[in-house]
């Protein structure tokens, strides 16, 4: 006993700096790239692959590339033909929207991005923001559609490109989320009819691919309508996307609800809150916070899935790009064109996942 006590006493209680082995560039390389023979081999292989791929890509994409040429000149040259994007820029972005009216979708997209940007800050989340969203979406609709205030009417058949993709996504995601939450609550309901209806709905929708839903919405549903009654094609696709995404959101939200401690329900009940208040004030704020990461994955994949409307001949971003490539002048430059829209999709998705991480961090800070 005494010897141990002496041992303890001999150790200084002051903080000691860590050993300086892994300091400096050499130290960093050693610990991160060559810490073991296996890691050394991996490092060498990776460097070799990068050496073989990056310089040729740079050569193709930037050094040998053509930016403002005609298609014929591109076919002569060996490098990337970015002209396919730049020369068809407006068609890829706006589809068949009348050329002289394209400032309208551009303005609408500007409004949308502005609203999204403003909504990033949680301090702005109040009832006025909800009103400005409603007003904004209405205004965007009028801008696109026209027919009032001297704007030339533009049929929705002519809508296309990036505005269409954004409309389908933004409306789809904002409508699907509340619907999904309601379905999740319904699935947990004590009333057997509501519960079974929700289960049937969720399992049915999750059991079919989005493509088949889109087909149904554009081909099968019109058969049930009386003659002469037609629904806008975009709206039909939109409904299919909403119904589809909501089922997935519902399952994710259910996971969050099940993670909640029973004590939270009991505490809420014991101070007299009713079901609706318990959910709104106590359970959902906590459960939805837990499911931010999986919800965002679903929103991201739903955003990308809007490109499937190609299949029912809506001219979204992907379809306008495809049509450009069927033009004989630009045939064969699909790599460049698809790279371009990949970048657009990537930017949107990147912002979404980035924002979800920020939101998670902020919510964690406010209640550890």
């Amino acid at each position: 006993m005494r010897t141990e006590n002496q041992k303890f006493k001999s150790v200084s209680t002051e903080n000691v700096k860590p050993p300086a082995v892994n300091i400096g560039l050499i130290g960093w390389i050693r610990t991160n790239l060559f810490s073991s023979w296996f890691n050394s081999i991996l490092t060498v292989i990776t460097v070799y692959i990068l050496w073989k791929t990056i310089p040729p890509f740079v050569q193709w994409a930037f050094i040998d590339s053509l930016w403002f040429s005609t298609g014929a000149e591109c076919h002569e040259a060996g490098g990337a033909c970015w002209s396919v994007v730049l020369k068809n820029f407006r068609f890829i972005l706006f589809g068949f929207y009348p050329h002289d009216q394209q400032w309208r979708p551009l303005l609408a997209m500007g409004m949308l991005i502005g609203l999204l940007f403003f909504s990033r800050n949680r301090n702005h989340w109040n009832i006025y923001l909800a009103y400005s969203w409603m007003l904004g979406l209405l205004l965007m609709g009028f801008l696109m559609k026209g027919g009032i205030l001297g704007l030339v009417p533009v049929e929705s058949i002519q809508w296309g490109g990036l505005p269409l993709t954004l409309i389908l996504s933004v409306f789809g995601l904002t409508a699907a989320y509340p619907l999904g939450v309601m379905l999740a609550l319904g699935r947990q309901s004590r009333l057997p009819i509501i519960r079974s209806l929700c289960i049937v709905y969720i399992e049915l929708i999750r059991g079919v691919p989005l493509i088949s839903l889109l087909f149904m919405s554009s081909v099968v549903f019109p058969l049930f309508f009386p003659e002469g009654v037609t629904f806008n094609k975009i709206i039909r696709a939109q409904i299919a996307i909403i119904l589809f995404t909501a089922a997935y959101i519902a399952e994710v939200v259910r996971g969050g609800l099940q993670a909640m401690d029973r004590g939270q329900y009991e505490a809420a009940e014991s101070i007299g809150l009713n079901y609706y208040q318990t959910m709104r004030l106590v359970i959902l704020p906590q459960a939805l916070k837990i499911v931010i990461p999986p919800s965002v994955s679903i929103l991201i994949s739903a955003f990308k899935d809007t490109s499937l409307v190609v299949i029912i001949a809506l001219y979204d971003l992907l379809k306008t790009t495809q049509s450009t490539l069927t033009n004989p002048e630009w045939m064969g430059f699909s790599a460049e064109a698809y790279l371009f829209i990949a970048i657009i999709y990537f930017i949107c998705c990147f912002f979404m996942s980035n924002y979800s991480r920020r939101l998670e961090r902020e919510l964690n800070r406010s209640n550890r």
């Binding site: 939270q264 009940e269 014991s270 101070i271 007299g272 906590q286 916070k289 406010s366 550890r368």
Partner: protein, 258 residues
């Protein structure tokens, strides 16, 4: 000792019955957890319920505010019978406060928001008044300086005191305590019991599931001993701890004294 006596003397001048339980039965599936329980509680009475785990004591008090549903028998709280009528359940819950073993504070709300939630949404009290009430009760449980913090920033004892204040904000006539100190570190038990004792001095009707003998001796009018879903013994604390009648209670007391 004199203090303890005087604590108890005040409570029971009135003989108004506030809770009446008649021939209560409850099953979990096939398991018979409450067997023919009858109990009358008078206004201002303080009852401590003890017994081994699984004896049905928590289930009994959870039946009183309908966190558990009973299958047979009657429970009448303040003249209102507890049945499937949602109106009655709401009335009774507004009248009965409950404190849980694991506090069950709402982690996403500040202490103050935890306290004002019930009054503002259930009693429709204006925000300003709810805040005043909340601060009054926080002060009473000696924790007003923590009002803006979140539950996870508080110690267990502090959280339990907040939970008591949260129930009090609803101005209940009856308080139920479900093992309020058994999830606490030993050094925090006293601060919670002190709050409960001061509540008892003000004449609150209390039913406390607890094994805290000191607490029972100083404030309880009656101690109920439960086992196998039945009340085996009901006695004054002095008699119960000093001279237990039932064989099971003798065994139980010898166990908690060790």
């Amino acid at each position: 000792m004199r203090q303890e006596k005087s604590d108890k003397a005040d409570g029971l001048q009135s003989s108004e019955v506030i809770i009446e339980i008649q021939n209560l039965h409850k099953w979990y599936g096939e398991m018979h957890v409450l067997k023919d329980i009858s109990l009358t509680v008078q206004k201002g009475e303080r009852i401590v319920v003890c017994g081994p785990s699984g004896s049905g004591k928590s289930t009994l008090i959870r039946c009183i505010n309908r966190l558990e549903e009973h299958q047979r028998g009657r429970i009448i709280v303040h003249g209102v019978e507890l049945n499937n009528d949602l109106k009655n359940i709401e009335k009774i819950r507004a009248d009965v406060g409950m404190v849980f073993q694991h506090f069950n504070l709402f982690p996403h709300l500040t202490i103050l928001e935890n306290l004002t939630l019930g009054p503002m949404w259930v009693r429709k009290v204006p925000k300003k008044e709810a805040l005043e009430t909340a601060m009054y009760y926080l002060d009473k449980v000696h924790i007003s300086e923590q009002a803006e913090k979140y539950p996870s920033q508080l110690s267990g004892g502090q959280q339990q005191r907040v939970a008591i204040a949260r129930s009090l904000c609803m101005k209940p006539n009856i308080m139920l305590f479900d093992e309020p100190t058994s999830a606490l570190d030993p050094e925090m038990v006293k601060e919670v019991l002190d709050v409960m004792i001061s509540l008892a001095r003000e004449g609150m009707t209390m039913i406390v599931v607890s094994h805290e003998m000191g607490f029972a001796k100083s404030v309880a009018h009656r101690v109920l001993f439960m086992d196998f879903g039945q009340i085996l013994e009901a006695n004054t604390p002095e008699e119960f701890f000093g001279n237990p009648q039932h064989e099971r209670s003798r065994l139980f007391i010898s166990q908690i004294l060790h």
